[in-house]
Symmetry: D2
Subunit: 337 residues, 4 copies
Amino acid sequence: MLILMEQGATTEQIAKVCERVQEIGCTPHEIPGAIRTAIGITGNKGPLAPEAFHGLDGVAECVPVSKPYKLVSREVKPDATIVEVRGEKIGDGSMTVIAGPCSVESRDQIFRTAEAVAACGAKFLRGGAFKPRTSPYAFQGMKEEGLRLLEEVGREFDLRIVTEVKDTGTLDAVAEVADVLQIGARNMQNFSLLEAAGRLHKPILLKRGMSATLQELFMAAEYVLALRNYNVILCERGIRTFETMTRNTFDLSAVVMIKHHTHLPVIADPSHGVGIDWAVAPLAKAAIVAGADGVMVEVHPDPPNALSDGQQSLTFDGFKKLMGDLSDLATWQALHD
Amino acid sequence: MLILMEQGATTEQIAKVCERVQEIGCTPHEIPGAIRTAIGITGNKGPLAPEAFHGLDGVAECVPVSKPYKLVSREVKPDATIVEVRGEKIGDGSMTVIAGPCSVESRDQIFRTAEAVAACGAKFLRGGAFKPRTSPYAFQGMKEEGLRLLEEVGREFDLRIVTEVKDTGTLDAVAEVADVLQIGARNMQNFSLLEAAGRLHKPILLKRGMSATLQELFMAAEYVLALRNYNVILCERGIRTFETMTRNTFDLSAVVMIKHHTHLPVIADPSHGVGIDWAVAPLAKAAIVAGADGVMVEVHPDPPNALSDGQQSLTFDGFKKLMGDLSDLATWQALHD
Amino acid sequence: MLILMEQGATTEQIAKVCERVQEIGCTPHEIPGAIRTAIGITGNKGPLAPEAFHGLDGVAECVPVSKPYKLVSREVKPDATIVEVRGEKIGDGSMTVIAGPCSVESRDQIFRTAEAVAACGAKFLRGGAFKPRTSPYAFQGMKEEGLRLLEEVGREFDLRIVTEVKDTGTLDAVAEVADVLQIGARNMQNFSLLEAAGRLHKPILLKRGMSATLQELFMAAEYVLALRNYNVILCERGIRTFETMTRNTFDLSAVVMIKHHTHLPVIADPSHGVGIDWAVAPLAKAAIVAGADGVMVEVHPDPPNALSDGQQSLTFDGFKKLMGDLSDLATWQALHD
Amino acid sequence: MLILMEQGATTEQIAKVCERVQEIGCTPHEIPGAIRTAIGITGNKGPLAPEAFHGLDGVAECVPVSKPYKLVSREVKPDATIVEVRGEKIGDGSMTVIAGPCSVESRDQIFRTAEAVAACGAKFLRGGAFKPRTSPYAFQGMKEEGLRLLEEVGREFDLRIVTEVKDTGTLDAVAEVADVLQIGARNMQNFSLLEAAGRLHKPILLKRGMSATLQELFMAAEYVLALRNYNVILCERGIRTFETMTRNTFDLSAVVMIKHHTHLPVIADPSHGVGIDWAVAPLAKAAIVAGADGVMVEVHPDPPNALSDGQQSLTFDGFKKLMGDLSDLATWQALHD
C-alpha cells in the first residue's frame, strides 16, 4: 500500500504515519522526489486495511499497490528518477553515453580509448577489471591493476567510471574506483551482492539476466530500493532466444516497458544485445527513439585483437559517427516525445 | 554455386550456361536486377566443381555460396530487391506503411478505417478475412464476405490490399482480391502453401514464425524464390520468449540481419511484436531508424470493441501522430544511412 | 458447459437436450464411452446459464467447463479414450510400439526394416513418403512410390502403417494407405489440414509443435474432436530450447500432463526428442514408467547411410534389446500404476 | 591435453611430467581413480604440442581434449566419480534419495519430516535454512536457527544434511552443518561462490541454472574441479521453457547427457522440475530408469500449509509409496544396464 500525504504535510505528521506502519509490523519507505510526500509500505503479508491510517493527520489517500514490485513502480512514484553521477544526470531527458572496452587490457589500450570517447563527448567510460567468465581458464580481467588504471584514466579525461563488481569480496575495492557499480547479467539475482552493493548508496547499473523476465529484473532492483537506495539504472543487454545469427536477442520493448512500469532510468546495451559490430549502430539509434535514457557501447582501439568481445566492439571512427547520429535523434526525440 | 557472367554477355551465352547446369542435373536460376547477369545453381548434392563452367563463353567467375539459403542471399544478389505493387514500391528506400484492422468485421468498420489510413498517407490496407485461430470456437473471420468488402474498399480509397491466405483451398479466392498475399507466422513452414502461393507470382508478405530462427525464415522464403518468384517481403512480428509483460518479443535485430544477409525488403509489425497499443509507436519509430523498409500496424475505429487484437490497435488519432513521426524519421534516415 | 444425463436416460431425452442446445445457438456433442451419457456444449460466447436445461427430463447435472479446451478434457470425459487400429488398441493399458525409418528410401530398406520390427513384436510401422523439409533442396521423400511400398509392406508383415500427411493436396492419397495419419510438428496448427484429416474419421497421431505449449496442442486436437472424431493420439517429440547438446528437449512431463488433463492416448517419440541414437533407449524406457501409452522410435538397417535422421535411428539389434526392456517395464508399470 | 602414464609409472615420473607442464606455463591435474595415472593440463592458450612430453619416462600417450570442459569430461576420466558422504556413496550404482522440505520452518516440521524419510530408507535430508527469493519481501528462511535444527535432526536420525549455501558470507556457517553444500540454480554461474565452496573440499550438489545449457553447467563444475575438488554432484531441476502448465520443464535427457559426457554423478529433482505434487512420482521413476544416480524430492508433513513450494511437496504417504517403486526400478535397472 501507498500512503499519499497532503501537500504541506509536516515532518511530524509524516513521522507519525511511519510510526504507525512500524507498529503493525511493516516497513515504511518515504518516496523521494514527489511534489507531495508518499510513504510506501513493505513487509506486509497480504493486503493492508487502509482504515489503520485514516484517522492520522496529513494523510490524503491510501492506495493499494497491485504489483509484486512496489518501490520501483511508477504506480508508487510517478516522477522519473534521475541518477546523478559527479554532475552528470541520467534519466533527466538528456542522452547518456557509456563507452569503452569490454575489459581493461593495458595502460595504452584504456588511455587511448578514454581519450577517443571523451573527444566524442561521452561522459562515462566503461571497462571491466574483474570479469566473470564461463570458463575458469579464460581471461578474468586485470583485477586490482585494472582498477588502478581506471582510476587514473577517469581523472585524466574527466570520465565517470562504470565497472562491474562480480562478488562481495571485491566490492569495496571496486567501489573505491567506480562511479557506477555495474551488476552483470549473471548476477542479477545474486541477492547478497545486490544488498551489499545497495548499502553503499552508490549508483548501480543493473543488467537484466540472460533469461530473466522484466518482473524478475524489477524485483531484483527492488532489493536495492528496499534499502532506501534509489540510485538504480536498469540495463537491457539482450536475452537468450533460439536465434543463433545474433549473440543475444536485443529486446527493445524492454526499454518501453521499463519506462512505463517503473520510474528508473534505462540504458540500452546493443553491443551485448546483438554481438556484431556492424549491427550495434542501428540498434543504438533505435533505442534512443524508443525512449532509452542512453546507451552503453563497446569501443576498442583494435577490435580484432581485443582479449574479449572484439567482434562486437566499435572502432573509434565507428563510435564517432554513431555519436553524431545519436545526438541528432536525441534532439528530435526530446522535441517529439 | 553462383556463376557471374561478364558484362555484355549475350542471351545465347547465358542460355548455354543454363543448359550446362541442367546437363549436370541441377537447376539454373537467372538472378534479376544485377548490372551483369548472374546464374544461381540449386539442386546439387554437395559442392560443384567450377571447372564444369570454365570453358564457356561469357562466364566471368564461379563463386561458391556458403549458406544453406542461396537465392535469398545478398551473397548471390547484392542489389536490394524492390517489390512493386500497383505503382507503389517496397524496398526502394521509401517508407511503406501498411495499416488497418486485424480482421474485417463489418462494412462500416473497414470503410471508416480505410478512409482514415488513406487520409494519413498510407498506401496499403491490411485486414484479415480468413483468420487462423488457436481455438476452433473463436471468430474465424468474415471469409468470402470479408474479401468482397476488401475489394470494394481498396478500389474506393486506392489502397493496396494486404490480406492473409491461410490454406491452399482458399488461395485462389484470396489471390483475386489481395495485392499482397500475407502468409502468417503459423504457416511460415507450410511449404505446400508457400509453393502454391509462390506459383501465382504475386507479392508475398512472409511473416516469421513465432519461434523460427532467421535461417528458417530465409529457407522458407527460398521455397518461393526457387519458383522464380522474387516478390517476397519478409516481416518481423515478434518471437516467443519467456517474457509475459509483452505479447511477443519484438526482435528488432532481425530487421538488421535481414537487410544484411538477404536482398529482400523487410517490414516490421510492432503491433503483434509487442501487443500493447501504447508501445506500438516507439517500436515502429525504432524500426525505421534501424533500417526497416516499412511498418505494418493495426488501426481500428474502436479498439476496445474490436473482435480481435483490440488491445494492440491504434486509434485513428494515434495513427495520425505516428505517421508524422515516421515520416520525419524516414527522411532523417534516408539522409544519414 | 457439460450436461450429465441420468443413468438410463432415453434416446428421446438426449435428443431433446441436443435440440435445446441448438435452439440457444450452440453445438451439442454426445461424449462417447461413459457409463452414462454426457453432452458437451461448444460455440457459446461466455458462460451459459444452467437454468436453460434444468427442466428437461433425464438431466442429472450441469457442469461448467473451466478450460479453453473442452472435448479433449478429462473434466468432460473422465474415461480414457482407446483408439483401435485394425484390431490393435492404443490407450487401453497395453504398450504400443511404432517403429521404422524416418523416410521410406527403397523397397529393400523398408522391407528389411518391417521384417525386423515385426519380428520383435511391434504392430505398427512408421515411415515417411511425403517429407516436409526446411530446405527446398533437401530430399522430400519417395512420395506416391513410397506410399505403394508402405501399402505392400504393411500387408506382407501385418503391420499398421503410420505415415505423415503434409498437406490437403496429398491427403486422400496418403489416407488410402495410412492406418494412422500422422500430423507433423510443423503442421500442428495447420487448422485446415487438421479439419480435412479429421473429417476422414481415421486415427490421427498429432505431434506437438516445436515450441507449442500443451494448451495449444490440446486446442489443436480440439479441432478434430469438434468434428466428432475422437480417434486422436497425442505425441510428445521434443521441444525447442537453448540446449544444443540434444536435437530437441524431450519433455517427459508432457506425457504426465496429457494423461492427467486429457482422455487421449499419448505416444512418446524419443528419437526426435533427443536426436542421438544412444540416448533413445533410456528415454523410451523412462516414457513407459512415466505413463506413456507407447513409444515411436526410428529404426534403420544402416543408420550411417540413412537419407534422413540417421544419427537418431536404432539398429535392428538396438531395437531388439529395447523391445525386451520396454516389455519388462510395461509389465511392471501395469502392476504398480 | 591429457597425458596418460604407463601402468606402473613411478611417483617420480609423474612428478617430472607435472614439472614440465608448469615449465610451459600451464597447470597439471592428476586425475584420480583411474587404473593408470592420467595428467590433465589446463591453462593453455590454444592447443599444445604433444612433442613437449614425448621424451619423458613413463608417458604412454598424449591425447588432445576436444571439449571446453576438461576435468569434468569422460574423455579425460573414463571412470565414474563416486562421492562419499559419511559412509554413503553417490554414483556407485546404488540409488540415492535426498528428501525433505523446501525450507526448515520449525522444529516440529523438520523433526517429523526427518523421522518419516529416514523410516522409508532415505539417507539424506534436504532443507533450506538460507533461501534466495525473487522478492525481498518473501520468507528468506530460518537462517542460523534453521542450521541448528538441521544439525540436531541430522544427528538424531543419522541423516546426511543437504542444504543450500547462497553466498560467501554465510558459507562457513552453512558448511559447518552441511554434509553436502547445495549451490542453487540462480548461483550456478556465481563463480566466486563456486570457488569459495570448492576450496572447502566438501561434496557440492550443483544445480543447473534455469536457462543454462549443459555445457555451461559443465563449465561451472569445472570451476570446482580445477581446484582439485572432485566431490561434485550435478543436479537437473528443470529448465525454463514456454510451457506454463508445469513450473519448469524437467529435462530428462540432461541426465542421459551428463552420464555420457561427464564422470560426475547426477541427481534428478523432479519436485522443482515439474512443480506439481501428483507429477513428481512418475518423473522420479523415469529418472531412475534413464540412469540417474538418485533423486531429490520435497516432502512435507502438511503440504498445503508449507511456507514455500507446498504445491510440489509429497506427503509422507506419497513418499513411502514412491520409495517402494524407486527401489523396484533401481533393482531392475542395475540388472539391465
